[in-house]
Symmetry: C2
Subunit: 475 residues, 2 copies
């Protein structure tokens, strides 16, 4: 939007420039539109989601043609292969996006849902209700599907969204954002709740706008996420690294250990939830060779500590010596680090010292050890006898996923629509003044009330007429 | 800790220095201790809270003597009166702190509580459980009671806490922190989960340590909060401003309007939830003079827009003309701004344009207007026919209060112990591999399970024996 000129080259952090007035204006317009969107009836936002699904169908030729233009330009400019793959849209992707929008349309509106309901005193009732988070800034590379995926979630949550795509996906992004804005317009909803911003220069400017933007959602490389995290005071939802561990306890079933090591490493090695380091209890060492065999058969290269190398070598398996850097590596390919530990304490210390707090798993038949692992590991996801690859919003049953957060604030682990919501506290009284409570004329009752009638978008209907509170001092 | 020399003078932001190695060491020790504290049985943390309450009793003479030394030094150095008042401890304050610790000890342990429970597939069960947030940095001025109040909450939540107090409360803070650490030690809990840091220089260094500190909680002036917010990438829980509005709709009961205006302004004018601006529907103007009378009788000075001034003047009430700055003023005293609006839209726009998103209230007998106000106002607390002064953790029934947050991320409004917690996702399987689901060999069931057995600190006991999953591809 503010500029379509890409910056000279990638840098580790973004500088803190003064935002262009056009960009400030755009962000304020998104905020204003979001406040309208979030205060309207949920049925209209559902209808807009259905309308979006329909547009993705009727405009599919136009969308695919735009994507073909992007792909052509990208191929000509020698875009890296993984980015090229993620740039591509096809009919199956469009169908998945349509299904996602329809599923969200069918979900009950989260806004106005009461999550806490308390009678403070006669006639004085407090509700904590789910409310839109506000304005999201989504920064992504390639992946035009992200436009529809996150904007659909934002629409369900009543949030505004500023989409900052890469120039490689410009044509695709534009036609998809037009679908979103037209879907809003067709239901009389404010179109500016969704805005597309282009140009690398805009990123640094947007990251300074903490008055207008509530949450940044980066979808891209660890490099991109780290650069954003170190360049803004706006909270960032996501993860820079996915250094996931699988700990084979001495009580592990050897066949299960092989199975989960292979699945964790090989199912999708580039995924953030792929296993990067195998921690092996010294008591499990005799069973390491069959695990190594399964891994090597699956094409995995091993980088091992001295103790595990001796065992591997004796059993005839090749490995490279692992250095300290290996414990911090997110290989993203068929390389796996192996380290021997003398028990749970050392495994926990290794994970806290080198890990990224994303996902760690233990394999053991010993319930007591498993329980201690689950209790002690301070990561977003902690598994017992299951592959690290299960850390995923879809697999967790959250429906659509915004991303996986490794921070501790707000949302943690796979994040669905709940991560795009906040709460407000709504209090309805009958003229209640605080001074009466200080004077001891009245005291609080603090009685929990049922969470029923949870779906109106504001407050509860009053059940009693409205007498004035007696015992007033102030009037 | 790192230095006890106060900096030369107050500045609007803190610079970003390299932390002193001692301070880094201290923060890492808090993190390590917190992880132990948070993974231990809740009963031991309850016992430590009871022990703390006992120490506050048995050491009360020592605490009050230390406080007397601080007060003496503060009086000699001409500390400002409000700070002096907030520096003072007495037996009543100590009794309140003891009661608070005992109440927290009696509460069920929040850690390990299941808030989501899903059967992903046969033998594969997911729980989202409450977990400690991590390490808190509390920065406060005067108020030695904050030490006990927040550390008690942190202990309940399994969090570590770095307390950075002011030099004016040094003696009091030291004796109180000793009580906390001794209470931890007496239960065999890691004492370094609570640490006291002294010296202004340390603040800037601590604010750079986003690896070791998860949340900053400033307790002090808006000036302090703003300086901290603009100097750190660590999330800050709190509010810089409390510019609260009371909107008198044309459908307001005039007596209730007077009552709530006087209570909102006069009950405690220095509080963040005091009413600062009265918005008056043009249709309510005929009823403004009696409201003004109640306010003036209570000692309030009025600063009014032109339209309201005319009405006030005609009725014989003095007022000063209000300028744009008045709509952004947190007076903190018996001054009140008054502005006439032509209806709900203008009231909402004024609040979103000038407010601090803390607390706003409407007075009206018109349910439809009230509902629209509650739905549309994007503030942490929104009230109908109640004083803005009710925005408070104690009044909301949250028990102790960490502070009032005006941000939208993580916690919003009055924050109790829930704001000091995060969640983790615990998955227990029987050797489940992700590849089986991609291959269509298995599909997810995603069946919600009851939240019962919610208090164990880790995972659920398995109800079935542990057969291997069949249909495996990877082994």
């Amino acid at each position: 939007m503010s500029s379509t000129t890409p910056g000279p080259q990638e840098t580790a952090t973004f500088s803190m420039p003064t935002p262009h007035p056009d960009l400030l204006h755009l962000a304020r317009s998104v905020r204003r539109s979001q406040r309208i969107l979030g205060s309207l009836d949920g049925a209209r936002r559902s209808e807009a989601l259905r309308r979006l699904a329909a547009l993705l169908e009727t405009r599919s030729e136009r969308i695919l043609a735009a994507n073909a233009r992007d792909l052509e330009a990208a191929a000509a400019s020698n875009l890296e292969k993984p980015l090229l793959k993620r740039l591509s849209l096809d009919r199956a992707t469009l169908a998945t996006l349509r299904d996602g929008a329809l599923q969200l349309a069918a979900q009950p509106d989260p806004l106005g849902e009461t999550i806490r309901h308390t009678l403070l005193d006669d006639g004085l009732t407090l509700r904590q209700v789910r409310s839109p988070l506000g304005v999201l800034l989504v920064i992504f590379e390639s992946r035009p599907d992200v436009v529809v995926q996150i904007a659909s979630l934002a629409l369900r949550a009543g949030d505004g969204v500023i989409l900052k795509g890469g120039s490689e996906a410009q044509a695709s992004n534009r036609v998809l954002v037009a679908c979103l804005r037209d879907a809003l317009a067709s239901e009389g909803l404010p179109t500016d709740a969704v805005a597309l911003v282009e140009g690398r220069k805009a990123v640094a400017e947007l990251l300074t706008m903490d008055e207008s933007i509530d949450l940044v959602i980066p979808r891209g490389s660890g490099h991109l996420v780290r650069a954003i995290q170190s360049s803004t005071r706006i909270p960032v939802l996501g993860h820079a690294d996915g250094i996931c561990h699988l700990y084979l306890d001495t009580g592990a079933d050897p066949a299960m250990a092989s199975r989960l090591a292979v699945d964790g490493k090989c199912d999708y090695p580039a995924a953030c939830n792929a296993t990067e380091t195998l921690l092996v209890h010294v008591g499990f060492l005799p069973h390491l060779p069959p695990v190594a065999k399964a891994l090597v058969d699956a094409g995995v290269r091993l980088r091992a500590c001295q103790a595990s190398r001796s065992v591997l070598e004796a059993a005839g398996f090749e490995s490279q010596p692992a250095a300290d850097d290996d414990w911090r590596a997110e290989y993203g390919d068929l390389t796996l680090a192996i380290r021997v530990v003398d028990g749970l304490d050392e495994a926990v210390d290794h994970i806290h010292g080198y890990g990224s707090a994303h996902t760690e798993a233990i394999v053991t038949q010993n319930e007591e050890v498993a329980q201690a692992f689950l209790r002690r590991i301070d990561s977003a996801s902690v598994f017992w006898n299951a592959s690290t690859r299960f850390a995923d919003g879809y697999r967790y049953g959250l429906g659509a996923e915004v991303g996986i957060a490794t921070g501790r604030i707000h949302a943690r682990g796979p994040v669905g629509v709940e991560g795009l919501l906040t709460t407000r506290w709504l209090l309805a009284g009958e003229g209640h003044a605080a001074a009466d409570y200080g004077d001891g004329l009245r005291s609080f009752r603090h009685r929990p009330l049922p969470l029923s009638e949870t779906r109106d978008s504001g407050y509860q209907r009053r059940e009693t007429p409205m007498p004035m509170v007696t015992g007033s001092r102030s009037t």
